[in-house]
Symmetry: D2
Amino acid sequence: MKIGFLGLGNMGTPMARNLLKAGHDVTGYNRTRRRAEELKAQGGKAAATPADAVSNVEVVITMLADDAALEEVMFGNNGALPAMKTGSIHVSMSTISVSLVERLTEEHGKHRQHFISAPVFGRPEAAEQAKLFIVSAGPAEPIKKCNPIFSALGQRTFDVGEKPSAANVAKLGGNFLIAVTIESFAEALTLGRKHGLDPQIYFEFLTETLFGSPVAKTYGSRIARDNFEPVGFRLPLGLKDVRLALAAAESAAVPMPFATVIRDQMLEALARGMENADWSAFARVVAENAGL
Amino acid sequence: MKIGFLGLGNMGTPMARNLLKAGHDVTGYNRTRRRAEELKAQGGKAAATPADAVSNVEVVITMLADDAALEEVMFGNNGALPAMKTGSIHVSMSTISVSLVERLTEEHGKHRQHFISAPVFGRPEAAEQAKLFIVSAGPAEPIKKCNPIFSALGQRTFDVGEKPSAANVAKLGGNFLIAVTIESFAEALTLGRKHGLDPQIYFEFLTETLFGSPVAKTYGSRIARDNFEPVGFRLPLGLKDVRLALAAAESAAVPMPFATVIRDQMLEALARGMENADWSAFARVVAENAGL
Amino acid sequence: MKIGFLGLGNMGTPMARNLLKAGHDVTGYNRTRRRAEELKAQGGKAAATPADAVSNVEVVITMLADDAALEEVMFGNNGALPAMKTGSIHVSMSTISVSLVERLTEEHGKHRQHFISAPVFGRPEAAEQAKLFIVSAGPAEPIKKCNPIFSALGQRTFDVGEKPSAANVAKLGGNFLIAVTIESFAEALTLGRKHGLDPQIYFEFLTETLFGSPVAKTYGSRIARDNFEPVGFRLPLGLKDVRLALAAAESAAVPMPFATVIRDQMLEALARGMENADWSAFARVVAENAGL
Amino acid sequence: MKIGFLGLGNMGTPMARNLLKAGHDVTGYNRTRRRAEELKAQGGKAAATPADAVSNVEVVITMLADDAALEEVMFGNNGALPAMKTGSIHVSMSTISVSLVERLTEEHGKHRQHFISAPVFGRPEAAEQAKLFIVSAGPAEPIKKCNPIFSALGQRTFDVGEKPSAANVAKLGGNFLIAVTIESFAEALTLGRKHGLDPQIYFEFLTETLFGSPVAKTYGSRIARDNFEPVGFRLPLGLKDVRLALAAAESAAVPMPFATVIRDQMLEALARGMENADWSAFARVVAENAGL
């Protein structure tokens, strides 16, 4: 398939590479040109503008840092949206706001293009190994057409219906649950430490009995070791996702007290200078607030 | 081994039965005599008072509803503590306060008896099937001696050190994490429902990707189905455990913002008349507060 | 002075009238024309567009519902900003976001116009009686020139410095404190009611001893009587102000746990159908959550 | 009147002295004898035990640090309760738990004695100047008899009914509102500081417009100056009162989210080593958490 790939960062680069490996014809665009040249060196093509990357393809994939970056490549100078062919498909795979998903759904409709929201779960290592989880939503026919793409990128895709924003909400809720895991393990392990429990033993007890989800194992282990390296996803990006979840909650009148606690903990972490730390490092706020 | 078993409720009865099956000599005591008679019918002995149940045994197991009940059987009229033999072992398996564990540690020491804290994870079904998880703490020699008991009751025992209260804190932290799972899945699924996500599909997506702990599967499924039957553990008992966790946190100066949110949700559930519901039903408060 | 007044709602209309009474030459603009005609009937002038209202004046006052409304009259079709004379002054008196204040400061600077932020405290009755409190910030000379205007509108003006956004933050913090008063009196009076205290007696005790601020007297009395009529300021506007405070807090990395609690209570009130109630009615959520 | 006064601390000593000045016959008891001797030097009598202090009086006043101290003097060795005369009155003026008030109501009833709950608002300076506020509850006749006592101690007494615990709840709710004032001014002033507002100017603006309660003036000024000296009431005592309020709330199924926030802030303050600071110093936690 001919694919335009916009956004070649820590996640986008390994994803585009996996599409090449699967035999697709991939044209990449990135704000800093060097990343697109690297893709070219691996068998892809490099485009100078978003419009150039998408004008001749069936599927456009976007994987960008935030709403502003996506708006820029779609609606900005030499933007992708007006350059896309009638009947082509935009698959938005980054974590963006519900309101932007709704706007894109509407704009692509006006241009007789298709829009699918298909955000992913997984850190850069999972992207590399094509082990992402994908949650997709959108009209049935275009989703069917994109299945080979999803297979090349992830270990499993979950279809949650025809309304694109539903996939986005599913993703935001998932990121919220990761943050909940971080905060809750931080609280439990801090309580334990202050009462003389060895954090490593306590972590093993918890994850080998009732609380052994993949997320708990990954993040709980970091908290037990009090070591938040390497940095896979920076704290301000984590805060951004919580903010998007709270905005989606506010627009639907849903109180989410846990999400508000997490937001405050992350702000506290930023105020203490952790803006370059991995987002899981906000667990340290819990320990520090207990005098550890 | 000769064992005195105090407290034959929903949990204690199947536990005592499993000890009988494993060949131990078990004398049971329960506040309402009928339960002890049932144990007798199954090959055990029935005692009329706590003192009678323990005066001639090597190991005393207690499995009672709360601090007050345990204080009554240990220190009250015909209480167990003064009747226990020198060198015998008290294994406290219910969820009690850190301060009562500390008091028992001290009192048994004065009487030259041993004290082990070994609370369990698992609902009555798990007790029945000898599938409990046990977290033990106390002096090494008595714990070693009790290993056959733990094997007869649970699928695995975790030893967390010599300080009995540490096992208790481990258990309170675990119950806290179960309540966190309930609240967080309630928030995520409510957010999803109000944005058009099918709760069953969203639950499956979450637990089959990153969040699939045993606790998430059990309780998340109840929340997705909005059905909190059968009642395994009543809400006021759940609130009691959160209260004990908060007390342990307060005594060690540990802020636990998630625990305080949960406490408020449970009080709200009680105020709405859910005192006979399963404790997981406080998830309904989240949905109702969002207008569902 | 020649004044252009944009926004003739519940607050703007009595304010513009007070400026007429004080002898100023006031041209009014409102999205729905009727309000401007009413002002004309009282001795003012009616303009058809924002640009018409401001093209010939020394001072432009804006009093609009939210950021979007202000952006529309300033930057939209026939907007005020490009029509204002060099050296004229824009006095923004409504409660808007810190980021919009910063944008206006910059844009007016580019057009060699002056910008003052001067939001007000007070409900429509206070506006009518020229009893508003005004908190102003901006360059010294223009503020001095506007003092007669402030005198005609309010009982007292507080100057908080040269940076316009500071006045805005001061106002948002003040609205936050009103919401805090509502929530805290609701919690205290609910606790009292459930323990048999008469809410009216308890309210009097509190406000006649240590807690007798004007805000506590106004809102505490509503809560004690459980009567939130008349509607002076609708709940969604109250939520908007809390959202703006939280955004200002987030941009400066300030955790505000009380503000997050209030946000959740207001969302809960909206989910229960209170969108047309006075914002103080979110106190009912506190009572209802305790089963009252 | 013949009065026994139990508890001659920072509050009790000036109160007992004011009773002497008003012409009453006061016998004092304190755990550390020296305080009672000082009272003797000022015209009172010194008793060696609680029983000695009360065996011959009409009215017994207690002013002690906490539940445990009051239980000790009433029910402990040489305790006051069995030594009090039939028909005499116990006026409990310290801040104690609702459950202890209920127990005292019952026990005094059994001994055909009267029990009044009459806690006070005010710091030691107010006690000195007989400027306390008193909130009383209990049977009408004994309260009437105690009016001269209340007049000698405070500036005003509020009678809230016949049920003694109601006065106690009123007091706990009041202390909660003081803590709310501290937290909320800390949040607002911190937000202001991080946006360039001078805290002193902002404090004046707030307290001279809508938020000028006596409590806001006293504590807001401390926060604006970031100076929490002198220490009138230590942080652990403040936490104790919040704990009592939360216990009263829990027993009546009242969620109090603001109270739970305050509890966490106080624990954080303790974890940072503020156990000897004035309780208002927990405001510093808010500033520090924002990086100030």
